[in-house]
């Protein structure tokens, strides 16, 4: 027992306690308690507390990394978990007690810590009042910590099944808005699975059984499955890969009718960020140019579409009179002109600044983004761009019959645009141009010595990024129909950059996955809107630490990462040889 009381475990316990308190003081626990994981059994807020305490035990009982000078502690993981969990429970309980004392002593805690509300305190105390609450926290800390530590004793497969099942239950509950929409869409009653926003007890049991059996069964057959795949002759494997791609596309085509209008709208936004991501990927991923002002081309695309097609725009009203009668001011006619304008602006913006070093280029592009956002908002250009009142009633793309503004239909517009952009990006990446970009990204001066005109290829990447970015703006104008300046802030540029880096720089599937995670997921947490950006920030930090190369890394980028390490080692060897 004495070994389990080591400094590391207590420290892990304190960190766990601070985490639980953080979740309480930020107001997450109270606000999440509004949503039941399993109706009338456990709320999401309470679950957060349990996960915090169990997590402490689980993390503390991690097999220690062998560190020189520290003899490995070989205590029983369950005991380590117990110590850590209890410490966390004691810390949390103590602070709650202190807060209660302060409040009872008349100190207005809420004027400082806004989230210390009666609701938060009762959730933390499981409704048992200050003393009872503190004891419960300590007890739960001990029990959950020990339980989580004991998990370490189980066989890998059993432990994996247990954790998988728990996460499956949580996911099933969080996916309630999607699944109930899908079930409604297929007009299947969902009352037995979901009720009042949470899983019913029956639903929870079924999920546990299905997930547990499924996972166990899947793990059991894993060796056989790997062999079967290895045996496949090469051409059969490429056939299967083609089939998989075909199936994926077919699924994407049918998807909106499966999930109903709200999720289709979410898919539309995800698709928009996939398109913008594909464009920015050419600039940052292929040519290695750090662009923090990509919203500029997005805004140009949207406003150019508005000016060229909306009957309210001055151009259509005055100069474009005859065009309007002949019906030329429609979406499809305006599209090529909008992209052309964006490409020209891309070249004008890019030419003078592409020689700048990475961070200088970042601030200059950020500047261009701010300049364009300010111009579209300004009173100076208000007569042309609508200023603060925005550009209204931009007609949806003809033909009228298709009603291309309904979420399920406009989805196909973005699907086509993304298809085009992905095709362009893919074809460019393994062509002469792609090679020039790759060489430039690795070593600019050597690439130039091999005959690559650095400026021309940077400008090409910038102009293509501008074109695809404006395509995103065109889609946005068609989807929303009224364009207001505050949709084009710095946040858009940052979101798109995060999507491509999170997904995996330079990788086309990476952009899709990145957009689904960063744009799709938060849409599910719409109820907890005020915590969306908090969770978004936490996800960014966590993923960048766990997988810096991104979720679906591009093979070449991954090699670049390792090549850089290999080269570093090699250069040390060379210098040794040369000097010896």
């Amino acid at each position: 027992m004495r070994a389990a009381l080591s400094r590391d475990n207590v420290r892990a316990g304190l960190i766990g306690g601070v985490t639980v308190l953080y979740l309480a003081l930020v107001g997450m626990i109270e606000r999440f308690q509004d949503r039941d994981v399993i109706t009338d059994v456990i709320g999401l807020g309470t679950l957060l507390i349990l996960i915090g305490l169990a997590g402490t035990g689980y993390m503390a009982s991690r097999p220690p990394k062998p560190r020189p000078g520290r003899k490995p502690v070989t205590a029983n993981p369950a005991l380590i978990g117990l110590v850590a969990g209890t410490t966390a429970g004691v810390l949390a309980g103590a602070v709650i007690l202190i807060l209660e004392l302060l409040i009872s002593a008349g100190v207005d805690v809420r004027s400082v810590l806004a989230s210390v509300t009666p609701g938060m305190l009762s959730t933390m105390e499981f409704g048992l009042g200050p003393v009872g609450g503190a004891l419960i926290l300590v007890g739960l800390g001990a029990a959950l910590g020990a339980g989580a530590g004991a998990l370490r004793l189980l066989s890998d497969q059993l432990r994996d099944t247990v954790t998988f099942t728990l996460t499956a239950v949580l996911l099933m509950s969080l996916m309630e808005p999607i699944l109930s929409a899908v079930l409604d869409g297929l007009s299947l009653p969902d009352r037995w699975l979901y009720e009042g926003g949470g899983l019913t007890v029956l639903g929870a049991v079924l999920t546990v059984v299905a997930a547990g059996a499924g996972r166990w069964f899947w793990k059991e057959r894993e060796p056989q499955r790997k062999e079967a795949v290895a045996l496949l002759p090469a051409d059969r494997r490429t056939l299967y890969r083609k089939l998989a791609v075909f199936a994926a596309v077919a699924f994407l085509v049918v998807l909106p009718w499966l999930v109903g209008s709200f999720i289709s709208d979410v898919l539309g936004t995800v698709g928009l960020y996939v398109l913008l991501g594909l464009g920015l990927n050419i600039v940052v991923g292929y040519a290695g140019l750090l662009d923090l002002g990509y919203v500029a081309f997005f805004a140009v695309g949207a406003y150019a579409t508005g000016v060229l097609t909306s009957p309210a725009s001055y151009l259509v009203r005055e100069e474009g009179q005859l065009f309007a009668e002949k019906g030329l001011t429609n979406f499809w006619v305006a599209l090529p002109f909008v992209v052309l304008i964006a490409v020209i602006i891309g070249i004008l913006i890019g030419a003078p600044v592409l020689r700048l070093r990475g961070d200088y280029l970042a601030i200059v592009t950020l500047g261009f983004g701010e300049i364009i956002r300010t111009l579209v908002l300004s009173d100076w250009l208000a007569p042309y761009l609508g200023g603060a009142q925005g550009l209204l009633n931009v007609p949806p793309p003809p033909p009228e019959a298709l009603d291309l503004r309904a979420p399920q239909n406009v989805y196909y517009l973005i699907l086509v645009f993304c298809g085009i952009a992905a095709f362009v990006a893919w074809r460019l990446s393994d062509s002469r141009i792609g090679r020039a970009w790759a060489a430039m990204r690795e070593d600019e001066s050597v690439a130039e010595a091999m005959g690559v005109s650095i400026i021309r290829y940077k400008l090409l990447a910038f102009a293509m990024g501008a074109g695809v970015g404006s395509l995103g703006g065109v889609f946005f104008a068609a989807k929303i129909g009224s364009i207001f300046p505050n949709s084009f802030g710095l946040l858009v540029s940052i979101n798109v950059l995060s999507v491509i880096i999170l997904g995996g720089l330079g990788s086309i599937p990476g952009v899709i996955v990145g957009s689904a995670v960063l744009v799709g997921l938060p849409e599910l947490l719409r109820e907890f809107a005020e915590f969306r950006l908090l969770i978004y920030g936490a996800i960014l930090v966590a993923i960048m630490i766990l997988r810096p190369e991104g979720l679906v890394p591009n093979k070449r980028r991954q090699r670049e990462l390792h090549a850089r390490d290999a080269e570093a080692e090699l250069s040390v060897i060379v210098t040794d040889e040369a000097t010896s």
Binding site: S111, A213, D265, A388, Q389, L392, F484, A529
Partner: protein, 426 residues
């Protein structure tokens, strides 16, 4: 191999249970629902009446939307006559909410509206906070599905222009045309001002108000020296104030929100040349939050907004029971001015539901078009913000009493206005 066979059987059983649970169905539907173009909302036995809210609860304007949302929650609470944090009922069905965020932007309004439209149990929606989230976006999406949208704070004139108005859109906020003109009348006639300057923050609300003020002020014979604007999120307004002070006007009108409003008020007091310029703001700043942010600098300035004191009955209720309930549940003073309007909007909706709801055993059917018509027929409904009379274009404050208050102390909002004007939409 034996254990895996066991697992396979339990899996089979699970799937069977899934299908078995799916075979329940519901009884017949009353005649009115068949005839209604958009059908009825069917509230089953023991189910709640679901009301959606679409207000800005993220980003810099979050305090505005959160405050309106609190007003709606209090209205449902008071439905049973007491503020006991337990929602009242209509025909045995308790009121429940689906709160969504309008993000104060066009795309935020659209995804919020789409989320509400996909929930078929939604009876009606209180929202949006920002005009940019409604105009041509949320109002159209919800109207196309026959879901009534009642806004507590959209004041942009375009939303109820006959050419733009969506059939299912109403608002309890007053039209900017009334407030802007009322402030101009006050400045020109009461204060005797002949020159004025305006500052807006690039939002449709502020830009619309200052333009109406400027047009009316010129119409009365005054002169506009400077019309300038600031960036939301900025904090140093000394240069724009120096621009205004170059040709010192009698009145400086800046109908913006608390964050920038508080700073401009402080910095204006320190700007050489603006010593005898009267500062005027509007209902975006008519809150205790603004007085806290501006501090002593706000003493003596004027703020326009709904004249709450004109109606003796509800003013006492507003200042008394309502404010205490607000503080108890949400901690402290209201963050913005529109909680009163959202409270009235919710009550207007509940009255309409009671009027058109068809009870059939334990179930309740609410025909959507009938509900809309009932809302548009609201006449003489006494609320906190005044008497609601909805006209055909959805303006329920068509005859609103606009008050102009003078700030005496930063510790509390002025009780009664120094000037009040009953204005009617032509």
């Amino acid at each position: 191999m034996r254990t895996s066979k066991l697992w396979r059987i339990t899996l089979l059983l699970a799937v069977l249970a899934l299908i078995a649970g799916a075979c329940t169905d519901s009884g017949g539907v009353p005649a009115e629902c068949e005839s209604d173009a958009f059908g009825c909302v069917e509230v089953g036995a023991g189910d709640p009446i679901e009301v959606g809210t679409l207000l800005v609860i993220t980003g810099p304007n979050a305090f505005l939307g959160q405050d309106s949302q609190n007003g709606v929650v209090l209205a449902a609470d008071y439905l049973d006559g007491t503020f006991d944090q337990v929602n009242g009922e209509i025909d045995g069905h308790v009121i429940s909410f689906n709160h969504q965020d309008d993000g104060c932007s066009a795309d935020g309004g659209q995804s919020g509206a789409q989320s509400l439209v996909s929930d078929t149990a939604i009876v009606a929606v209180i929202g949006t906070s920002c005009s940019s989230a409604a105009l041509g976006v949320a109002d159209k999406i919800l109207s196309d599905r026959g879901i009534a949208l009642i806004s507590p704070s959209n004041t942009g004139p375009a939303l109820t222009e006959p050419s733009q108005h969506q059939p299912f859109y109403l608002r309890t906020a007053h039209n900017d045309k009334l407030q802007g003109a009322a402030v101009a009348n006050f400045a020109y006639n009461e204060l005797g001002a002949r020159t004025a300057a305006t500052i807006h923050d690039g939002s449709p609300y502020a830009d619309g108000l200052q333009q109406v003020f400027a047009d009316r002020f010129v119409e009365l014979g005054g002169e506009i020296t400077v019309q300038d604007a600031i960036q939301v999120g900025d904090t140093d307004f000394t240069s724009v104030l120096t621009t205004v002070a170059a040709n010192p006007p009698d009145v400086l009108y800046y109908p913006i929100f608390v964050a920038e409003g508080g700073l401009i008020t402080q910095q204006a007091r320190q700007t050489a040349g603006l010593e005898n310029t009267t500062l005027i703001g509007s209902d975006g700043m008519l809150t205790q939050g603004f007085l806290d942010a501006a501090g002593e600098a706000s003493i003596g300035m004027y703020l326009s907004g709904p004249d709450l004191s004109a109606f003796s009955g509800d003013a006492a209720f507003y200042a008394g029971a309502f404010k205490t309930a607000y503080a108890a549940q949400f901690g402290g003073e209201p963050g913005a001015a529109f909680h009163a309007h959202s409270y009235d909007a919710a009550n207007m909706l509940f009255k309409a539901i009671e009027k058109v709801g068809i009870v059939d055993g334990d179930a309740l059917y609410i025909p959507r078009t009938a509900l809309k018509d009932a809302l548009f027929e609201t006449q003489g409904l006494v609320g906190i913000t005044g008497t609601l009379n909805c006209n055909a274009d959805g303006d329920c404050q068509s005859t609103a009493t606009i008050g102009v208050y003078q700030v005496e102390t930063p510790d509390s909002l002025p009780a009664a206005p120094v000037y009040s004007e009953v204005a009617t939409l032509e």
